[in-house]
Amino acid sequence: MSNMIKVDNLWFRYSRDSEWALQGINLEVKKGEFLCVLGSNGCGKSTLAKHFNSILVPEKGDVWVEDINTKDDDRLLDIRQKVGMVFQNPDNQIVATVVEEDVAFALENMGVPTREIRVRIDEAMEAAGILKYKDRAPHNLSGGQKQRVAIAGIIAMRPDCIVLDEPTAMLDPNGRAKVIKTIKQLNRDYGITVVLITHYMDEAAQADRVVVMSKGKIEKIGTPREIFSQVAWVKSLALDVPQTSDLAYQLNQHGYNLSTEAISIEECAAQLYKFLEE
């Protein structure tokens, strides 16, 4: 599979006399995958995300979007169209006073003909599940709905990849669930590459691969199972593990030998059933 984004020995700091925020990052985001970047606050995960569509450019090293270097100013609009970005605070990324006008904003900027804008925004709003709110004012929507408006505004550009920077941090459980469901659908049904930045381990557990970051460096890359089964190590990075893995880990402290890879409720219950009834 070819790469959507390739990060090659990326070093970055916000000013000459500050510390390095990113220290030698190497990463390949494959086309069509659902990748999650997990890390505690201040580990550099948002800074890394901003390199994916050239909001920031590396001080040393390179970031490639397909075959375009993000330092190439002439291709800026191409990069932005290929890699869309959704941010944490839904209020601060909605421009217009009507939902459908906001979803159309990127297409208007790109100079898409009026008739095509109509078709594409209806598709995008359908995909994000907000078509029924298209004539509403954004400030009358809930946080989760607003965030899906922002997502629709990005997918209207028909990007190959969406980067979401803690999109659920400000939402209630209901809004969070709906946003995550939408993201997974985009990945599965529309083949859009997804990079989800988060510190919620339950969101990371749903990804194809998890990148764990700490203090400006990548600590480990692996499947959620590979990552979360290492309970003590994950906890040492100030992150959570699923309660299911934690339970197995705690029982093992009493001299048993349970698998910490049983992440889902069903797997965990099945394992405990065997443990108790044998």
């Binding site: 909001i55 421009v95 208007e108």
Partner: protein
């Protein structure tokens, strides 16, 4: 509470008034203002009232909305009335004379005309915001002001700023409410004390509000860039303004009505 403030309130609808192209609506509103100030006789004003009522009827906006929009301006109207009542002098004898207070017939006529004008003015301009969404209004303004581009006036940028301001007004009102509640919970006194105390009490509200607005502005700018925003050049629109046959017919009808109101100047004597 702050939440009760409504700025440029808009009532969506599907009447010919709602559907009229915003540019024509803006032009007609401006024309109406001129017509009002050129109406110097009661027949003209009566006709203007009739036209206003007719258009409200067509638009389906309830007349009680008028009461709401006039109410906040009552003090202003009252002030004008009192001022003019005592200061306008006529050539003849005063109607009422109480010591140094003298009230002339001209003053009363002038006041009646003034009140009519102010009320119709509010009615007419409110109708524009009631029946036009903020976004259509900005689009209309942008389109009308396009010729100013030639003298390097940033028309698109102005329109974008108005749109963003309209988008953020409710958000900032909500935020102000939240910050006020938070500071009240720490014992801030916002509604008592001397004038100086009250000004001082605003600091804990204005500073957080200012900081958060800056943060919002920065985040919004990044989000706009992520969506390929690069100024007005080469931009297309979701909703393109288009003047239809019905628009033209309706505009001509209204223009004829305005002409009739104006023509009364020729047949009836000026009252002021």
């Amino acid at each position: 509470m702050l939440k009760d403030i409504t700025i440029g309130q808009h009532f969506p609808g599907n009447s010919p008034v709602h559907n009229l192209d915003p540019r024509l609506k803006i032009v007609l509103t401006v024309a109406f203002v001129f017509v009002l100030f050129l109406s110097t006789n009661f027949v003209g004003l009566a006709l203007a009232a009739a036209v206003t009522l007719l258009i409200y009827k067509v638009s389906g906006i309830p007349l009680k909305m008028l009461k709401k929009s006039i109410k906040p301006l009552l003090p202003l109207i009252l002030f004008t009335v009192i001022l003019n009542l005592f200061f306008i002098k006529g050539p003849g004898d005063p109607l009422i004379s109480l010591g140094f207070i003298k009230i002339y017939k001209e003053a009363i006529l002038f006041i009646i005309v003034m009140i009519c004008r102010i009320i119709f003015l509010i009615c007419g301009t409110s109708l524009l915001t009631y029946t036009t969404s903020p976004i259509m209004l900005t689009d209309g303004l942008e389109s009308l002001m396009k010729p100013l581009n030639k003298i390097h006036f940033p028309v698109h940028e102005m329109a974008m700023m108005i749109t963003i301001a309209l988008r953020f007004i409710p958000t900032l009102i909500e935020e102000t409410d939240k910050i006020m509640n938070a500071q009240k919970s720490r014992g801030a006194m916002l509604d008592s004390g001397s004038f100086a105390d009250r000004i001082k009490a605003l600091v804990p509200i204005l500073i957080p509000l200012f900081i958060s607005s800056l943060r919002r502005a920065e985040e919004l700018a990044t989000a706009m860039e992520c969506r390929c925003y690069h100024g007005g050049e080469g931009r297309t629109r979701l909703k393109q303004l288009k003047i239809t046959g019905t628009d033209i017919t309706n505009t001509v009808i209204v223009a004829v009505m305005f002409a009739i109101i104006l023509s009364t100047r020729m047949f009836f004597p000026r009252v002021i």
